[in-house]
Protein backbone atom coordinates (compact mmCIF):
# COMPACT_ATOMS: atom_id res chain seq x y z
CA UNK A 1 0.00 0.00 0.00
CA UNK A 2 1.30 3.43 -0.90
CA UNK A 3 1.12 5.59 2.26
CA UNK A 4 1.31 8.74 0.12
CA UNK A 5 -2.16 8.04 -1.19
CA UNK A 6 -3.48 9.47 2.12
CA UNK A 7 -1.99 12.79 1.04
CA UNK A 8 -4.66 12.98 -1.65
CA UNK A 9 -7.58 15.13 -0.40
CA UNK A 10 -10.29 12.76 -1.75
CA UNK A 11 -8.75 9.95 0.32
CA UNK A 12 -7.88 11.98 3.41
CA UNK A 13 -11.22 13.79 3.73
CA UNK A 14 -13.33 10.72 4.62
CA UNK A 15 -10.50 9.25 6.71
CA UNK A 16 -10.37 12.46 8.80
CA UNK A 17 -14.13 12.28 9.21
CA UNK A 18 -13.91 8.75 10.56
CA UNK A 19 -11.05 9.59 12.96
CA UNK A 20 -12.56 12.83 14.27
CA UNK A 21 -15.10 11.37 16.77
CA UNK A 22 -12.45 9.09 18.29
CA UNK A 23 -10.00 11.92 18.93
CA UNK A 24 -12.77 14.15 20.27
CA UNK A 25 -13.97 11.45 22.67
CA UNK A 26 -10.41 10.71 23.77
CA UNK A 27 -9.80 14.42 24.44
CA UNK A 28 -12.92 14.71 26.60
CA UNK A 29 -12.26 11.50 28.55
CA UNK A 30 -8.59 12.31 29.16
CA UNK A 31 -9.43 15.88 30.23
CA UNK A 32 -12.03 14.60 32.72
CA UNK A 33 -9.54 12.04 34.08
CA UNK A 34 -6.76 14.65 34.23
CA UNK A 35 -8.92 17.18 36.05
CA UNK A 36 -10.09 14.49 38.48
CA UNK A 37 -6.50 13.51 39.29
CA UNK A 38 -5.35 17.14 39.31
CA UNK A 39 -8.04 18.48 41.62
CA UNK A 40 -9.26 15.37 43.44
CA UNK A 41 -6.14 13.33 44.10
CA UNK A 42 -3.00 15.46 43.68
CA UNK A 43 -1.98 17.05 46.99
CA UNK A 44 -1.60 20.75 47.71
CA UNK A 45 1.90 22.04 47.01
CA UNK A 46 3.79 22.79 50.22
CA UNK A 47 5.27 26.03 48.85
CA UNK A 48 2.75 27.36 46.34
CA UNK A 49 -0.48 26.13 47.88
CA UNK A 50 -3.46 25.59 45.58
CA UNK A 51 -2.37 27.94 42.82
CA UNK A 52 0.14 25.40 41.48
CA UNK A 53 -2.84 23.55 39.95
CA UNK A 54 -2.59 25.97 37.02
CA UNK A 55 0.20 23.60 35.96
CA UNK A 56 -2.44 21.19 34.63
CA UNK A 57 -3.30 23.62 31.83
CA UNK A 58 -0.18 25.78 31.64
CA UNK A 59 2.36 23.05 30.91
CA UNK A 60 0.23 21.02 28.43
CA UNK A 61 -0.68 24.17 26.48
CA UNK A 62 2.96 25.32 26.40
CA UNK A 63 4.12 21.89 25.21
CA UNK A 64 1.42 21.80 22.55
CA UNK A 65 2.23 25.32 21.33
CA UNK A 66 5.83 24.20 20.68
CA UNK A 67 4.95 20.76 19.34
CA UNK A 68 2.29 22.03 16.92
CA UNK A 69 4.82 24.47 15.50
CA UNK A 70 7.30 21.63 14.95
CA UNK A 71 4.61 19.58 13.20
CA UNK A 72 3.75 22.59 11.02
CA UNK A 73 7.43 22.96 10.14
CA UNK A 74 7.46 19.28 9.11
CA UNK A 75 4.45 19.85 6.88
CA UNK A 76 6.18 22.98 5.53
CA UNK A 77 9.06 20.80 4.33
CA UNK A 78 6.60 18.48 2.60
CA UNK A 79 4.91 21.51 1.03
CA UNK A 80 8.15 22.93 -0.30
CA UNK A 81 9.82 19.69 -1.37
CA UNK A 82 6.92 17.55 -2.63
CA UNK A 83 4.38 20.32 -3.20
CA UNK A 84 1.82 18.26 -1.39
CA UNK A 85 -1.49 20.11 -1.27
CA UNK A 86 -2.60 18.40 1.91
CA UNK A 87 0.56 19.40 3.80
CA UNK A 88 -0.10 23.07 3.16
CA UNK A 89 -3.70 22.58 4.24
CA UNK A 90 -2.54 20.89 7.44
CA UNK A 91 -0.27 23.86 8.20
CA UNK A 92 -3.24 26.18 7.88
CA UNK A 93 -5.42 23.85 9.94
CA UNK A 94 -2.92 23.60 12.79
CA UNK A 95 -1.98 27.28 13.06
CA UNK A 96 -5.05 28.62 14.91
CA UNK A 97 -4.93 25.79 17.45
CA UNK A 98 -1.21 26.38 17.98
CA UNK A 99 -1.85 30.09 18.45
CA UNK A 100 -4.61 29.39 20.97
CA UNK A 101 -2.31 27.05 22.87
CA UNK A 102 0.37 29.77 22.95
CA UNK A 103 -2.17 32.32 24.22
CA UNK A 104 -3.38 29.91 26.91
CA UNK A 105 0.22 29.18 27.96
CA UNK A 106 1.09 32.88 28.16
CA UNK A 107 -2.05 33.95 30.00
CA UNK A 108 -2.12 31.07 32.46
CA UNK A 109 1.58 31.70 33.02
CA UNK A 110 0.84 35.35 33.81
CA UNK A 111 -1.96 34.33 36.18
CA UNK A 112 0.40 31.87 37.87
CA UNK A 113 3.24 34.39 37.93
CA UNK A 114 1.37 37.05 39.88
CA UNK A 115 0.95 35.08 43.14
CA UNK A 116 4.29 33.25 42.87
CA UNK A 117 6.66 35.84 41.38
CA UNK A 118 4.72 38.95 42.31
CA UNK A 119 4.52 40.02 38.65
CA UNK A 120 2.19 39.26 35.75
CA UNK A 121 5.00 39.49 33.24
CA UNK A 122 8.80 39.72 33.17
CA UNK A 123 11.00 39.97 30.08
CA UNK A 124 12.44 36.58 30.87
CA UNK A 125 13.99 34.42 28.11
CA UNK A 126 11.31 31.69 28.37
CA UNK A 127 8.40 34.14 28.40
CA UNK A 128 9.79 36.33 25.65
CA UNK A 129 10.58 33.42 23.32
CA UNK A 130 7.08 32.02 23.89
CA UNK A 131 5.63 35.43 23.03
CA UNK A 132 7.70 35.33 19.82
CA UNK A 133 6.18 31.90 19.10
CA UNK A 134 2.71 33.45 19.35
CA UNK A 135 3.79 36.22 16.95
CA UNK A 136 5.11 33.57 14.54
CA UNK A 137 1.72 31.85 14.56
CA UNK A 138 -0.09 35.15 14.02
CA UNK A 139 2.41 36.18 11.34
CA UNK A 140 1.95 32.88 9.51
CA UNK A 141 -1.83 33.21 9.54
CA UNK A 142 -1.66 36.85 8.41
CA UNK A 143 0.81 36.02 5.63
CA UNK A 144 -1.18 33.16 4.08
CA UNK A 145 -4.37 35.20 4.36
CA UNK A 146 -2.79 38.20 2.66
CA UNK A 147 -1.73 36.42 -0.55
CA UNK A 148 -4.54 35.63 -2.97
CA UNK A 149 -2.69 32.99 -4.97
CA UNK A 150 -3.09 29.89 -2.81
CA UNK A 151 0.04 28.13 -4.05
CA UNK A 152 2.23 31.19 -3.50
CA UNK A 153 0.66 31.77 -0.09
CA UNK A 154 1.36 28.17 0.90
CA UNK A 155 4.99 28.40 -0.15
CA UNK A 156 5.55 31.77 1.53
CA UNK A 157 3.92 30.46 4.70
CA UNK A 158 6.06 27.32 4.60
CA UNK A 159 9.22 29.43 4.33
CA UNK A 160 8.17 31.54 7.31
CA UNK A 161 7.49 28.37 9.31
CA UNK A 162 10.95 27.02 8.54
CA UNK A 163 12.66 30.27 9.47
CA UNK A 164 10.68 30.49 12.71
CA UNK A 165 11.34 26.92 13.80
CA UNK A 166 14.69 28.02 15.25
CA UNK A 167 12.65 29.64 18.04
CA UNK A 168 11.38 26.29 19.38
CA UNK A 169 14.71 24.99 20.75
CA UNK A 170 15.35 28.49 22.09
CA UNK A 171 12.11 28.25 24.10
CA UNK A 172 12.93 24.76 25.31
CA UNK A 173 16.53 25.41 26.33
CA UNK A 174 16.07 29.03 27.46
CA UNK A 175 15.86 27.99 31.10
CA UNK A 176 19.25 26.27 30.77
CA UNK A 177 21.04 28.81 28.58
CA UNK A 178 20.10 31.90 30.58
CA UNK A 179 19.39 32.76 34.18
CA UNK A 180 15.64 33.03 34.10
CA UNK A 181 12.91 33.60 36.65
CA UNK A 182 10.99 30.75 35.04
CA UNK A 183 11.67 27.44 36.71
CA UNK A 184 13.59 24.70 34.93
CA UNK A 185 11.99 21.63 33.40
CA UNK A 186 10.06 19.58 35.96
CA UNK A 187 9.87 16.63 33.59
CA UNK A 188 12.78 15.34 31.56
CA UNK A 189 13.53 12.22 29.59
CA UNK A 190 16.94 11.91 31.25
CA UNK A 191 16.11 12.68 34.89
CA UNK A 192 13.49 11.63 37.40
CA UNK A 193 10.53 14.01 37.73
CA UNK A 194 10.73 16.78 40.32
CA UNK A 195 7.11 16.49 41.41
CA UNK A 196 4.79 14.08 43.20
CA UNK A 197 3.65 11.16 41.06
CA UNK A 198 -0.03 12.15 41.31
CA UNK A 199 0.80 15.68 40.13
CA UNK A 200 2.79 14.21 37.25
CA UNK A 201 -0.04 11.81 36.37
CA UNK A 202 -2.55 14.66 36.25
CA UNK A 203 -0.23 16.74 34.11
CA UNK A 204 0.45 13.90 31.68
CA UNK A 205 -3.27 13.08 31.37
CA UNK A 206 -4.01 16.73 30.61
CA UNK A 207 -1.14 16.78 28.11
CA UNK A 208 -2.60 13.75 26.32
CA UNK A 209 -5.99 15.46 26.35
CA UNK A 210 -4.41 18.55 24.76
CA UNK A 211 -2.82 16.32 22.07
CA UNK A 212 -6.11 14.64 21.28
CA UNK A 213 -7.89 17.99 21.22
CA UNK A 214 -5.32 19.53 18.89
CA UNK A 215 -5.55 16.56 16.51
CA UNK A 216 -9.36 16.68 16.56
CA UNK A 217 -9.42 20.45 15.95
CA UNK A 218 -6.89 20.14 13.11
CA UNK A 219 -8.84 17.30 11.47
CA UNK A 220 -12.05 19.28 11.75
CA UNK A 221 -10.47 22.41 10.31
CA UNK A 222 -8.65 20.65 7.50
CA UNK A 223 -11.92 19.10 6.35
CA UNK A 224 -13.37 22.60 5.98
CA UNK A 225 -10.25 23.78 4.15
CA UNK A 226 -10.43 20.79 1.79
CA UNK A 227 -14.07 21.57 1.03
CA UNK A 228 -13.28 25.23 0.33
CA UNK A 229 -10.31 24.52 -1.90
CA UNK A 230 -11.73 21.51 -3.74
CA UNK A 231 -15.29 22.76 -4.02
CA UNK A 232 -15.15 22.83 -7.82
CA UNK A 233 -14.11 19.21 -8.07
CA UNK A 234 -16.54 16.47 -8.89
CA UNK A 235 -15.76 14.39 -5.80
CA UNK A 236 -16.64 17.26 -3.43
CA UNK A 237 -19.85 18.08 -5.27
CA UNK A 238 -20.85 14.45 -5.17
CA UNK A 239 -20.39 14.42 -1.38
CA UNK A 240 -23.42 16.67 -1.00
CA UNK A 241 -25.44 15.43 -3.95
Amino acid sequence: MNPFRFAAPPVFYPLAGRLLPWFTAAAVLLAVAGLYVGFGIAPTDFQQGEVYRIIFIHVPSAWMAMFIYLVMAGYAVLTLVWRSKLSAMMCRALAPTGAIMAVIALLTGAIWGKPTWGAWWVWDARLTSTLILLFLYLGYMALVAAIDDTTRADRAGALLLLVGVVNVPIIYFSVRWWNTLHQGASVSLTASPKMASTMLTGMLLMSLAAWMYAIAAALHRVRSIILQRERHTRWVRQLFA
Binding site: G49, E50, I57, W82, S84, L107
Partner: protein, 63 residues
Amino acid sequence: MLESHLSYLAVAYGFTALAIAIECVVLLRTRRQSIEQVRRERDLDLDDHYESIADPRNEAATP
Protein backbone atom coordinates in the same frame (compact mmCIF):
# COMPACT_ATOMS: atom_id res chain seq x y z
CA MET B 1 -4.70 33.25 50.83
CA LEU B 2 -6.78 30.21 49.81
CA GLU B 3 -9.58 32.38 48.41
CA SER B 4 -7.10 34.45 46.46
CA HIS B 5 -5.49 31.30 45.06
CA LEU B 6 -8.87 29.87 44.09
CA SER B 7 -9.73 33.06 42.24
CA TYR B 8 -6.47 32.81 40.24
CA LEU B 9 -7.34 29.19 39.46
CA ALA B 10 -10.88 30.14 38.45
CA VAL B 11 -9.63 32.85 36.08
CA ALA B 12 -7.02 30.54 34.51
CA TYR B 13 -9.40 27.61 33.97
CA GLY B 14 -12.26 29.91 32.99
CA PHE B 15 -10.14 31.60 30.36
CA THR B 16 -8.95 28.26 28.98
CA ALA B 17 -12.51 26.92 28.78
CA LEU B 18 -13.62 30.10 27.02
CA ALA B 19 -10.77 29.94 24.50
CA ILE B 20 -11.53 26.31 23.65
CA ALA B 21 -15.28 27.01 23.45
CA ILE B 22 -14.66 29.89 21.03
CA GLU B 23 -12.42 27.71 18.87
CA CYS B 24 -15.05 24.95 18.77
CA VAL B 25 -17.81 27.40 17.79
CA VAL B 26 -15.61 28.88 15.04
CA LEU B 27 -14.74 25.37 13.80
CA LEU B 28 -18.41 24.40 13.56
CA ARG B 29 -19.35 27.67 11.85
CA THR B 30 -16.54 27.37 9.33
CA ARG B 31 -17.57 23.81 8.56
CA ARG B 32 -21.20 24.84 8.05
CA GLN B 33 -20.16 27.74 5.82
CA SER B 34 -17.93 25.47 3.73
CA ILE B 35 -20.76 23.00 3.17
CA GLU B 36 -23.17 25.81 2.32
CA GLN B 37 -20.66 27.24 -0.15
CA VAL B 38 -20.27 23.89 -1.90
CA ARG B 39 -24.03 23.42 -2.10
CA ARG B 40 -24.68 26.97 -3.28
CA GLU B 41 -22.09 26.84 -6.03
CA ARG B 42 -23.21 23.42 -7.11
CA ASP B 43 -26.83 24.56 -7.27
CA LEU B 44 -25.97 27.69 -9.20
CA ASP B 45 -23.69 25.58 -11.34
CA LEU B 46 -21.64 28.65 -12.14
CA ASP B 47 -18.72 26.56 -13.16
CA ASP B 48 -19.83 24.05 -15.76
CA HIS B 49 -16.62 22.22 -16.19
CA TYR B 50 -15.43 20.65 -12.97
CA GLU B 51 -11.82 20.27 -12.36
CA SER B 52 -10.99 16.73 -13.26
CA ILE B 53 -10.90 14.26 -10.42
CA ALA B 54 -7.73 13.06 -12.06
CA ASP B 55 -5.91 16.24 -11.06
CA PRO B 56 -2.38 14.87 -10.68
CA ARG B 57 -2.00 16.69 -7.35
CA ASN B 58 -5.06 14.83 -6.06
CA GLU B 59 -3.83 11.49 -7.19
CA ALA B 60 -0.62 11.29 -5.28
CA ALA B 61 1.87 13.34 -3.41
CA THR B 62 4.58 10.91 -4.31
CA PRO B 63 8.03 12.34 -4.67
